[in-house]
């Protein structure tokens, strides 16, 4: 694991991102708070529509308006509230001090420009390099992410690369300005496992070397276990549990986290060991149940869960959860 310091790079406080649709108000992210330190890798996990991607897009202020709008909270990056900046100032931060990698490299790369053009754009824009310098730098970055014959392949177009190679290019592009924070949104979900391993190793190595803080968004609990220092578990737009990785996996204290861990088939479990199932479906965000959003699917629900929204409380050092049920009585 990389050396983390106490220097906080990003602090998200009470973030509320809502969408206004025909079905009504959708609280995609509701009072979310977390922070990322320098050199630290933080995982945001949860199922589809739990708000993990929206919360990341909110950090970069890339929520399409309408229908989406950040209605409250603060996003403090290096002591500065990003929500107070002008669009102009924000452009100086995006892709420069905070970079993002998306799930689909194919749709994130411009098909009609060479790789060199696409990477050098941000080098010239943010770092003020001239043509020759940016060319050299592009080649260096491509080598850094393990693309051989970089000199020649820089002149190629995206379609000439495989999905894994395209995602390497996205990483090279994201790193081009030595960002202080890298947000990776399901960066390896559409890739094969051996390629996924290659890319995540590259990212881990770069984090170690450059001290970049990383937010890794994924639904893959295995990837989180291997590559993340702290895990934030989200459900229906809210943070339900957060803890250092070993603590969260060894000692989960929210019924949803416990259910999620028990429902993933593991490579090392006995064959035919039956999976434990979380019953029901994730809720429709425009018609959230009252009280704790997880109560209709929870096996421990009692009256209070239906009436009151649980707040995060510390159950062990650095380990927070939002649940009313007695933490010691949960079945693991």
């Amino acid at each position: 694991m990389a050396t983390t310091t106490d220097e906080v790079v990003l602090e998200v406080k009470d973030l509320q991102t809502y969408f206004y649709t025909q079905e009504g108000e959708v609280k995609a992210v509701d009072r979310l708070s977390y922070h990322v330190k320098r050199g630290e890798s933080v995982g945001l996990v949860g199922e589809s529509a739990c708000g993990k991607s929206v919360s990341a897009l909110s950090v970069l202020r890339l929520i399409p308006y309408p229908p989406g709008i950040i209605v409250g909270g603060q996003i403090i990056f290096r002591g500065q509230d990003l929500l107070q900046l002008s669009e102009e100032e924000m452009r100086g931060i995006r892709g420069n001090r905070i970079a993002m990698i998306f799930q689909e490299p194919t749709t994130s790369l411009n098909p009609v420009l060479t790789i060199r053009r696409q990477i050098s754009e941000s080098l010239e824009l943010h770092r003020g390099l001239d043509k020759e310098q940016s060319h050299q730098e592009t080649v260096r970055l491509l080598r850094l992410v393990g693309i051989s014959d970089a000199e020649r392949r820089a002149e190629a177009y995206p379609f000439q690369f495989s999905g894994g190679m395209q995602q390497r290019i996205m990483i090279a592009m994201a790193l081009s300005c030595d960002p202080e924070l890298l947000i990776a949104d399901e960066p390896t979900t559409s890739l094969d496992v051996t390629v996924q391993a290659q890319l995540l190793e590259i990212m881990a190595e770069l984090r170690e070397r450059l001290g970049t803080a990383v937010i890794l968004i994924t639904h893959n609990l295995g990837v989180v276990a291997r590559y993340v220092d702290r895990v934030n578990v989200m459900y229906a737009g809210r943070l339900v549990e957060t803890a250092p990785t070993d603590e969260l996996y060894g000692n989960p204290k929210h019924p949803y986290t416990i259910g999620l861990l028990a429902s993933v088939p593991r490579l090392d479990s006995e064959r035919k060991e039956s999976l434990r199932i979380i019953k029901g479906l994730p809720p429709n965000l425009s018609r959230l149940p009252g009280g704790c959003s997880f109560h209709p699917r929870c096996e421990y629900t009692f009256d209070r869960c239906r009436e009151e929204v649980p707040q995060l409380e510390e159950v062990a050092p650095g380990h927070f959860r939002s649940c009313f049920y007695d933490a010691d009585k949960l079945r693991k």
Partner: protein, 326 residues
Amino acid sequence: MSNGEHLIDVENLYMHFPVTAGVLQKKIADIKAVDGISFYIKRGETLGLVGESGCGKTTTGRCILQLYDGIRGDIFFDGVNLSQLKPEQMRRMRRNMQLIFQDPFASLDPRMSAGDIIGEPIKVHNLAKGQEYRDQVAELFRMVELEPFMMDRFPHEFSGGQRQRIGIARALSVRPSFIVCDEPVSALDVSIQAQIITLLERLREELSLTYLFIAHDLSVVRNISDRVAVMYLGKIVEITDSDELYANPLHPYTIALLSAVPIPDPVVDRTRERIILTGDVPSPIMPPPGCNFHPRCQQAIDICKTELPELRNMGGEHWVACHLVK
């Protein structure tokens, strides 16, 4: 050849797709999607088929169902050689073998109600009419844990997991004995994935089904399968009991594949050796000579570059195709 214990026997299966070019669509090369594989599936068992994209696992499944022209090799279903059947005989045979697709969003006709989707095969194969038909469709809904009152709804009104249930019910409607499950859970969320896996296992028990379970996720495959076959570039490189595959993998590709899958437990995961493969899977148009895997194999020796390794039984039905395994 056929064996009473085996429901499916695949022998020397090849499926090459032509690559054409120019106005005359002249054939310039072959994509060797499946390149000489043999295996069997026993009655009532689940055979897992894993491998990365483009390794030929989906093509293999579809070959068994005879969904292509130009299949070479023999496929026996319950002792009957499918390649020798007349089209009409094959049509009747199809009732015994069904397919569940990966993408529950793309595989259902958006303009048909759920009831019609599930009941269509019953009508096509003339298995029931009138009240009997309606009863059967309702029974299928219950079998996959959907409520029969949802019969008149359309696909867009269902969630991903529910749509996959509709796909399963449709496959079950003609009471098949064999189902090819092609990545049935990979598009679903973790909690829904577990629901569908559990459903598939229950149905296999209750209806005495035999599955070919195709997926790229080794953890899922290991959980559901009795035996697992690992494919790489059109060939089977290893096939064995699913516990044995995890405890004692022999092929370097299998070992690398297993090590690339993180275990959702950081304490356990940290103790595992990590092998990071370099490079990408080569093109199936021009696979490397000798062992397909040699350009990415860290242990490759001279013979690997020239000679194709045969699939050999290392004892206890553990088959592996590698020159280095003694």
